[in-house]
């Protein structure tokens, strides 16, 4: 995770475009100023960041399904549940599944685990829009490479 850049996930472990599922990993940093305030003496990942991590995981899945033709933007978060604390230094594994691809929107369900323990889950809806700027698309391509997005899978 690069929390200062709001990059919540580190690598894509698996992307299955047939099953429309993705698995990603996110290494929670040992130290960050966020943990100084959240909370003093009891550092835990804020629920909003766990939700964002699930949204970003879902977003990469949707980008894959749509072959990077459109960008998913977060629209609705439902049933967001923080089921357990996530601490500095822990490895978060997030799985997301595309539940529905509508006209101009997509809905996923995501779950985050540390080891086998379920820590968070949510149903997330995204609006789908053309990339608003070519440089944005270029940035997403660079990010895709950085996190190991299997670009050959969407080229087929």
């Amino acid at each position: 995770m690069q929390l200062d850049y709001f990059q919540l996930i580190d690598r894509i472990v698996d992307l299955n475009l047939e099953a429309k599922t993705i698995t990603v990993e996110a290494q929670v940093p040992e130290k960050h100023t966020i943990f100084e305030g959240h909370f003093p003496g009891f550092p835990i990942m804020p629920g909003v960041l766990l939700t964002e991590a699930m949204a970003q995981s879902s977003g990469w899945l949707i980008l894959g399904v749509l072959k990077f033709e459109r960008m998913p933007f977060l629209a609705i978060v439902k049933e967001a549940k923080m089921r357990g604390f996530v601490s500095p230094g822990q490895l978060l594994t997030i799985e997301a599944k595309l539940e529905h691809e509508g006209s101009g929107f997509a809905v996923t369900k995501a779950k985050g685990r540390v080891g086998k323990e379920l820590k968070c889950s949510a149903e997330i809806t995204f609006g789908l829009a053309p990339f608003p700027d070519p440089s944005f698309r270029t940035f997403m391509d660079a990010m895709a490479n950085k996190i190991g997005f299997p670009l050959q899978a969407v080229a087929q």
Partner: protein
């Protein structure tokens, strides 16, 4: 079995917290019920799931923006119910043709 309109009205009532008895076949989803685009995403998801279809919202929006259709054709609920019935019929016809 409830009518398409009844199913839509129930979905809108539940999704947008609008009293069911205020939702009429003549109601305009936007002008009368005040449903915004975000709530309509939620409604579209529920309708797609309930009827096993994909409402072509983007196509409809484009038609309205291009002046080829009015919002009433798609967003007055009795008309929306007709559009959904057409989509379901087209889906069933496609499924029949495939077998």
């Amino acid at each position: 079995m409830s009518s398409t309109f009844d199913q839509i009205a129930n979905i809108i009532a539940e999704t947008c917290d609008i009293p069911r008895d205020t939702i009429k076949p003549e109601s305009h989803a936007i002008d009368d019920l005040g449903i915004d685009s975000l709530d309509f995403l939620d409604i579209a998801f529920a309708i797609d799931k309930a009827f096993g279809i994909k409402m072509p919202l983007e196509k409809w929006t484009q038609e309205v923006n291009d002046g080829k259709a009015t919002t009433e054709q798609y967003f007055v609920l009795k008309n929306l119910a007709d559009r959904i019935d057409e989509l379901v019929a087209a889906k069933n016809a496609g499924a029949g043709a495939a077998t």
